[in-house]
Symmetry: C2
Subunit: 380 residues, 2 copies
């Protein structure tokens, strides 16, 4: 036998999470998650899943039947949308204005499909004009894929307009709403979004590890008419839906995989909190807290990466002032104030900080702590 490792229980400190996610988790979500595990086919659990579906539908503002939580993080939600809809040889217009557009491209290529990339500068929103040009130049494209809220830069793209363009050119839209869901306006049915995925750990303020997804009737039709099997068994929605069943139908569930029972308790509770607040109130709260943060950061002389008109309230990317040691500032905030802010990612690594105001994190006390701590560290 190998030696027994001597390891103590892990007791994390209480951090204030103001990075790009995970965000501060609602205390009632942590409580919900620690309730006793029950069987994943228990009738009470199945009832909880039905409620969860209704809550996800509300958050997405959709009546899509195929709405559920993928039992894995947002990047698996992204993969779920691509591998279920896109078949080898098909063409996808992929908008890239940060890390996650590039990840979409990699998903398309791994399917053996063709990605036509529409590039915008990091920090800029996706340009509808460039998208329209690409759609016109590639009439055989079947999908338009873009990121609603780029977590790597803090740029918000105009999802409504982009989806209208997709429809005009007979394309299905695939939308990354990992950071947007719950933080800014998002209307899946009104805007005609065909496939969308998000993450539990951003503006929903749930624990990380789950990905709410939704597919329109048109997307489901595409899925049903596939000529090739979905390459992933785990993410194959035709199998997963047999497990999630129809909301309130009481239909018998067929076993697919074992759901992450306790994590789903947590998501149920976080979406319940969101419904109780009301979506529009939550959007407004994010905007209000962003205004307070922005005023304070500007006073500290910090400037934003993204122009005001397309700036996300929940993800504030600001340039690191010249002569300031990026890692040391973040390290000091973490060790002395138990405050996490995010480093830059990709093209912005070492150049920007990303300050998150997501879900439960979008509170006055968080903004106050962040501004005061940053001021102390930067001016010491």
């Amino acid at each position: 036998m190998l030696p027994v490792p001597t390891i103590n229980s892990f007791v994390p400190p209480h951090r204030t999470l103001m990075g790009p996610g995970p965000s501060d988790v609602y205390p009632q979500v942590l409580s919900a998650q620690s309730r006793p595990t029950i069987g994943h086919l228990d009738p009470l659990f199945v009832g909880m899943m039905d409620e969860l579906k209704a809550l996800i539908q509300y958050a997405f503002q959709t009546e899509n039947e195929m709405t559920l939580a993928v039992s894995a993080p947002g990047s698996a939600g992204m993969e779920t949308c691509f591998v279920n809809l896109v078949e080898p040889g098909e063409k996808v217009i992929v908008c890239r204005n940060g890390v996650f557009g590039e990840r979409m491209r990699q998903n398309v290529e791994r399917i053996g499909a063709t990605a036509v990339v529409v590039d915008n500068e990091w920090g800029e929103p996706v340009s509808p004009q460039l998208v329209e040009d690409a759609l016109t130049a590639h009439p055989d494209a079947k999908f338009l894929a873009f990121v609603h809220a780029e977590t790597s830069t803090g740029a918000l793209s105009d999802a409504k307009t982009l989806c209208q363009l997709a429809q005009k050119h007979d394309c299905l839209s695939i939308v990354d709403a990992v950071t947007s869901l719950g933080g800014v306006e998002l209307r899946v049915d009104d805007w005609g979004i065909d496939a969308i995925y998000s993450g539990s750990q951003k503006c929903l303020s749930c624990v990380p590890g789950l990905s709410p997804v939704s597919f329109s009737a048109k997307a489901v039709e595409k899925l049903t008419q596939r000529k090739t099997p979905v390459q992933s068994w785990f993410l194959d929605q035709s199998l997963v839906m047999g497990y999630w069943g129809s909301a309130n139908s009481g239909a018998k569930r067929s076993y697919h995989h074992t759901a992450p029972v306790n994590a789903l308790y947590a998501l149920h509770e976080s979406l319940r909190v969101l419904a109780e607040e009301g979506l529009e109130n939550a959007w407004q709260r994010h905007q209000n807290m962003h205004q307070t943060l922005k005023a304070g950061l500007t006073k500290l002389g910090l400037t934003f990466v993204v122009q005001e008109c397309s700036r996300l309230p929940q993800l504030n990317a600001v340039y690191i002032p010249q002569g300031v040691d990026d890692a040391q500032v973040r390290q000091q905030l973490l060790s002395e104030y138990n405050l996490e802010i995010g480093a830059g990612l990709g093209a912005l690594a070492g150049k920007a900080w990303r300050i998150g105001l997501m879900g439960y994190g979008a509170r006055k006390e968080n903004v106050a702590l962040c501004l005061r701590a940053l001021e102390e560290v930067l001016t010491q």
Copy 2:
């Protein structure tokens, strides 16, 4: 705006979980899981991941460097092993003696590889003779895949002998240890297992949703020499390992996906409890509880699906007596005793019950409750 759903917090009852999983979760694991979420790149969290890797290595009895927890359930762990190692056009000998061998076959086919199926009856272990015949008949096979502990039947296969056969015929072995890990003898390095996956929700008595996996040096070499990209971005181990890093190396982690932070707290704690008990003690405890349960079930006139020599202590499949209403008995146990036992799956649906004695569930009080409740329900 769509109407706001009016949904209360979900408060599950306290069940005793004696089905095929999820099993009863250790109370200290639920506590660990509800500790405050910290950032997934926080140095303290990275340290926790290093400890977790060491704990998984101990549970698997391996020094494999590529050892980690997939951020998704066991079926994603299965897919991780197959999509990383097997390339399109390659041949895999797949042993099928229950539901999960068949799932392995489907994984192979979705890769565009060829599955040569070795069938054994449901309830029987995999026959080394049939495997040797298949390996001899297919000298171009590159992999031997089998399920160590078939959760659908309760049959234990001889992993040591099967892996020796794989080596003799120059094949890599892929082993499903979802139900075996922590419940019966399993020695990854001694037995020469090349790729193995398990689940958090069986004999580890952790919450469902994670899949510990490990790859031998030979498997890593195969992965490194791939001619085609791994079809899944989310499960691509060459990317994931950049995130998990080398144990205790202190190397910088590169962001891949956001780890399910709180679920990993839970897995850390459950493996810590296992290490504290000691693997061999845990194996013996499962055996002891099984003997007590077996004596009681036999007294009730119930007979086992699997012969004694290959019977799993942690998964007891027994035939439903003639004239007994399967669903009604399980329903009564659940509603009156808060006791869950498992239904039959696949070929055994409606014909057998599956009584789990897994991890924290393998206790005298559980066995006593199960025997007494079954007696009351069956003889009323």
